[in-house]
Amino acid sequence: MDLNIGQRRKRVLEESVDVHFKDIRKAFGDVEVLKGINLEIRRGEFFSLLGPSGCGKTTLLRILAGFEFADSGAVLLRGQDVAPLPPNQRSVNTVFQNYALFPHMTVADNVAFGLRMRKVPSAEVKTKVQNALEMVEISAFAERRPAQLSGGQRQRVALARAIVNEPQVLLLDEPLSALDRKLRVNLQVELMRLQARLGLTFIFVTHDQEEALTMSDRMAVMNKGVIEQLGGVQEMYERPANAFVAKFLGSSNLLEGTVCGEARVKTQLGELMVNDFLPAIGQDVLLSIRPEKIQLSRTQLSQQNTVAVSVTDDIYQGATGAYRVRTNSQLELEVNTMNGGVQDSDFAIEDELFAHLPANLIVVLAGSTRLDQIGEVH
């Protein structure tokens, strides 16, 4: 009886998975771009694939769309293996990086293309196109050619052209990267609203960590063909699994150390209290703390986890301030403060301060424990 319920629950859970990548491997010549990707994307979620260029995220998307074939592994779309289906028979639609609008067609014809190819009756095509154009607020441009539109307007057309087909999954390949910052932020908000309204599964590929953090429910950080970490946005920012995620997703101060007692780690800053789970005494660990979690003060507020530092760089950024501070042991730390916040945050170069690293905000990273083994992260 119990087993039965268990099985039923499991099936319901499985059914709510929209896309399932099973051990996907792919190589171009000698270069392995995907090294066994396992990933489940749930129905109706806004999922981001985040990583530096060349990490394999676009290839993964193209395998799902049908433009590339995996060397091994399977892609299930709502439980069905899509391997035998050509791109035109998959219920996924793509918003391309440079929009790929058909230059010889009007906006309305661009949006109608998918419906016409599926032989939808023309009256229905008309209303659906109209609705889609209204949804992205470009009805006024229906009879224009793509060449007569601005970048942001083209982006909306590309979006309308994809969603009008009501696909099971919408794939977005860095769709905002060609736009200027202000427009990008506006479109981010609109995309999120649209996604919530349509209840569609969005898979969003980007190399912009801010974009991924802003928009996604969950995300996977990819690097060199593997998934470094997978999870909810907040969880991944607050608790990065390894040095790559810590540095790629936002920025982090990394500290080498050795466990020297119960919740104690010996580092270049001296002995630090760490609340995070630690390995056995004597083991090496790599610690991470976000720049905005470090508290700077002129007077020593606490005995614990506090070091004397001097300011080396003062970077004014408007709403936030960024400081580089140096300890007596010549270790450099990055610290961010809010401008005009509660704490005293107006420091100058060569000010002698105290930096406090709260024990509950220090994260123990998995993987390599030595800084010199971590490559540059871009």
Binding site: P87, N88, N93, T94, Q97, M117
Partner: protein, 301 residues
């Protein structure tokens, strides 16, 4: 009219033409053209068009043999279109059939070579297959091979094949095949370079939006490649009309083209009615090129 008068007149006309050219360039360019650039381009165009201009002028010259200007006349044109037209010692019926042959040859070979050449251009653009690079390279051989070499090789080939296929007897079918042979390369090169300017994501977008491979070509690739296909067809057509050497080697007694006929008559000396005929051909070609330009411009907007 002495020699001095001629030279003064010549220099005055040239100076006037250059002045017109120079101011036209100054006005039409976004970045104003310098005197040097205007002059160089003027010279280039002058070299290209001066011979044609001389032919056109001489076709209105009221003199049967002399190369100097005697007086204005349209009688050479009247002669071509007259009832008992004899041009360059050729009968009107001969001329008419040669014109027909030229046009039939040009139209049929252009249609065939445009279809095959466009497909070749698309295939080389779209697919990588064993030997695709070699094919792309081989495509340039008909372009760079001298006409005479091409003509002789075709002649030899035809002599061999003729033993099995009567199709290759000297005459229209053999000429069509010969023209298609060199036209394909030109069409394929023009179409391929047009396709290379298109975003490869466009085809993927069409496939993503439920178009089959055939529908993708029909609705996206072909309409976008059309200016290239048209340009290629026009080039092929012009090359065919223009061709003398290859036609000469493959034609039969019933399939004389205009260039062959003109060549035969010119051997007996250039007559003004040949000038008139040449001028008509040039004007017709110019109208054709002009129309295709307008077509392409409309398509762009």
């Amino acid at each position: 009219m002495g020699l001095a008068t001629f030279w003064i007149g010549f220099l005055l006309v040239t100076a006037l033409l250059f002045a017109v050219w120079f101011f036209a360039m100054r006005r039409s360019q976004v970045r104003k053209a310098s005197v040097g650039l205007s002059f160089t381009s003027f010279l280039a165009f002058a070299f290209l068009y001066a011979p044609i201009l001389v032919v056109a002028i001489m076709s209105f010259n009221n003199s049967r043999f002399k190369l100097e200007w005697v007086g204005f006349t349209t009688k050479w044109y009247a002669k071509i279109f007259g009832d008992e037209s004899v041009v360059g010692g050729l009968e009107g019926a001969q001329l008419l059939s040669a014109t027909q042959n030229t046009l039939i040859l040009a139209i049929i070979s252009t249609i065939i070579s445009t279809i095959i050449g466009a497909l070749l251009g698309y295939g080389l653009h779209r697919y990588r297959f064993p030997g695709s690079r070699l094919t792309a390279w081989l495509m340039y051989i008909p372009v760079v091979t001298p006409d005479i070499v091409m003509a002789i090789s075709l002649l030899l080939l035809y002599q061999v094949v003729r033993n099995f296929l009567p199709f290759f007897e000297p005459g229209m079918p053999a000429m069509v095949i010969a023209h298609v042979t060199f036209q394909i390369a030109f069409v394929a090169i023009v179409v391929r370079s047009r396709l290379a300017t298109l975003d490869p994501a466009l085809e993927e977008a069409a496939r993503d939006l439920y178009a089959s491979p055939l529908e993708t070509v029909q609705h996206v690739v072909f309409p976008l490649a059309l200016p290239g296909v048209m340009a290629g067809a026009l080039l092929a057509f012009t090359l065919s009309i223009d061709d003398f050497v290859i036609s000469f080697f493959t034609s039969g007694p019933e399939s004389q083209t205009l260039p062959i006929l003109i060549y035969a008559s010119v051997k007996r000396g250039i007559t003004p009615d040949i000038n008139a005929l040449s001028t008509i051909i040039v004007v017709l070609t110019m109208i054709g090129v002009f129309l295709s330009q307008i077509l392409q411009r409309n398509q762009k907007n």
